[in-house]
Amino acid sequence: MSGETQPENSADGAPADELIHKIGKMTRMLHESMRELGLDKEIEKAAEAIPDARDRLSYVAAMTEQAAERSLNAIDQAQPLQERMESGAEKLDQRWEEWFAAPVELDDAKELVKDTREFLRDVPTQTKATNAQLLEIMMAQDFQDLTGQVIKKMMDVIREIEQQLVQVLIDTAPESHNKEELQQLADERSRKPQKGGDELLNGPQIKPEGTDVVNNQDQVDDLLDSLGF
């Protein structure tokens, strides 16, 4: 229409800044109502749970990275062992091939036999070392259990947040919506059997501070010793 930047009139003709004033008042009223209903506390709780969820994710990331490094380091150790054994065996085999093609002096054969025996005697040492690295790789997979437990706990936290937020939406929904229906849906979705006595089911400690937490097996042993077990 015109190139003016004059604010347009609303339907009942009141100027725009009066409209803005009305919106401001409504927002304040909404805020007050939420406070009276205690809903702002719910949102606060939900917001507080988010750093906890972040910590858990960070723990999961750290554990998976650690496991990957451990495995890769073990592989770095084991591969040279295998390669050395392989090339050692090939060299010896080559020398035997040559010997069989043209059987030579006893002294030369003696040397080959000595070297071969030495190689054979060394094999168990090499395979044990490789096996130890394989064991290390296997142990490194323990992250899966720990991260799995933390992720499970995080699902609970997220479910809790979702519940709070949905509840806020329901409680503030305009009357035209079928509140009861919405509440029922929300209750169904949030149904999770609450076990009593969950205080001992905390899963892995993602933050090893605190005086009521043990950080390693030695501390466990010390505590048991002090109790006389």
Binding site: F143, Q144, D145, P204, Q205, V214
Partner: protein
């Protein structure tokens, strides 16, 4: 020297962990190993008979490790069964609760192969096996 043919039950809701413990037991010479994925399944298997040792996690669905341990200690047929807890639960109150409930040992995750072997040996020693 512990009987390498000893029948052992490994209880944990994570299959990876059951597999790791089974492999470690195999490294130590124990091949007679069965598995359960929660305390209830474990109790059912134990009551069916034949097990001489239990290695169990704590935090599991249906029936957790501590409750299972308490049931074992209360069952006439199972009360003497050695139970080694292997768990991520690392609060002091956990360790105390397990000891008071009659656990024979407590290994906290993550653990090393050496630690598992050491704790197993310690239990065997005490039981005179």
């Amino acid at each position: 020297m512990a009987d390498k043919n000893m029948s052992i039950l490994v209880v944990d809701d994570f299959p990876t962990m059951r597999r790791i413990v089974r492999s470690l037991l195999k490294e130590l010479g124990f091949n007679n190993v069965d598995e359960a994925e929660d305390g209830q399944e474990a109790l059912n298997k134990l009551r069916a008979g034949g097990f001489e040792f239990v290695v169990s996690d704590w935090n599991m669905p249906n029936l957790d490790g501590l409750s299972m341990l308490k049931e074992i200690r209360q069952d006439d047929a199972l009360s003497e069964l050695p139970v080694l807890m292997v768990t991520a639960e690392a609060k002091k109150e956990n360790i105390i609760a397990a000891a008071q409930a009659g656990a024979n040992g407590y290994v906290v995750k993550p653990f090393t192969a050496a630690t598992l072997e050491e704790k197993l040996d310690k239990i065997f020693e005490k039981l005179g096996k």
